[in-house]
Symmetry: C2
Subunit: 218 residues, 2 copies
Amino acid sequence: MTTPPSGLRERKKQATREALREAALRLAVERGPDQVRVEDIAEAAGVSPRTYNNYFASREQAIVSAVTADREARVAAAVAVRPAGVSLADAVTDAVVEQYTATGEHDPRALLLITTRTALRDAYLDATAGIAPPLTAVIAERLHDTGEHTARVLAASVAAAVRIALEGWLQPAGNAEAAEGLAAGGLVVPSGSLPDRLRAVLAPLAPALDAAERRTRP
Amino acid sequence: MTTPPSGLRERKKQATREALREAALRLAVERGPDQVRVEDIAEAAGVSPRTYNNYFASREQAIVSAVTADREARVAAAVAVRPAGVSLADAVTDAVVEQYTATGEHDPRALLLITTRTALRDAYLDATAGIAPPLTAVIAERLHDTGEHTARVLAASVAAAVRIALEGWLQPAGNAEAAEGLAAGGLVVPSGSLPDRLRAVLAPLAPALDAAERRTRP
DNA sequence: ACGCAAACTTGCGTGCACGCACTTTTCCTG
DNA sequence: CAGGAAAAGTGCGTGCACGCAAGTTTGCGT
């Protein structure tokens, strides 16, 4: 179960993936993301440029994945670790906050680079959707497979909420276009720490998580 | 409010947009989506190819937007219409089901084409995210601006749920890769009508919608 | 009414995503 | 243990997304 049935072939795939990730991030940090061509990344990883995009659909995806790659699995694992006593909502919330505040052992320049350049920022936000599949698995386990859809919907909602938190966190000033008619309220708190933002966006989903959990064993 | 401050210039923009949409869809239906180049679409709409992608980031986006363009606004409007008596969860659910079962006055071949070709299918699914912004507005209104995040999170969750429903609906047979370890349950209902699917995925979110609404006026 | 400034459009050039056909590597089965 | 098939890597070609730097239209101020 921990090791999928795949044998020795899968490792080289993951190794190549890792090599591409690392090369992409390293080159991007060294010379700036716009001065890195796909050819360079492929060469640094020891593969053909054609092979590169059998793994990644865009340059930004490759760079960002070096930072977000394992977070997907880590979030799910962090949820799984929580004892059965705590509510699903608390487990998910704490796990998310825990994993997104952990800086990891990455080059601090990397995160700075990503949050600065718009293209990378967008790719980073899109990557948050990647936590949904593993989250679906652990949530489904806690729910004892009560309705296949439920776990997927809740996981996707959590991912969407996290994305919103990151969007807000990464904005120095408000962008008018997204809010449109919403800005009428006027009273918005543009700043705030990331953990606070994460808890704020996950709070509205807590009732749904609790309700789903309650439905399994009354 | 209904008319943004923009004057007469904005109309030509929308007209061009509409022309590109219509041209893209018509040509795609006529000769198949792979036999349509951007140059053809631009020519049919009477603009330069360069102008085309000031409006759309990809060919698929242009084609799909001809079908999904007004749905975004319609869903939100359908929610706004519901009387204040019905719960937010019911309002949203009914509105979504109503708008996604309404075929619209489109060429039936168009929807068939979109659901068939993979690239178009993906673009169609991505387009569901577009309902979130207008939904945010109407939900925020019902919530009397109780927490700016709440409406955004709920709207995004609804959009994500709708996407899941459509994903499942558009699959002839199960794709093994997405489910991964989830297929262990074995008992899945692969088919089912679209309205049923929509209600199924929105049900888990109802507690969150109700809780948010309840928080405004106890 | 006139002209200026902002915006939309356009042509050009570059790098890239991706399909197709082929070679090489890896794994499974008789 | 060998043969063969599936899968990964590679080369090549085509159309496209997007930056840049004009040209052109729209709308506003005086």
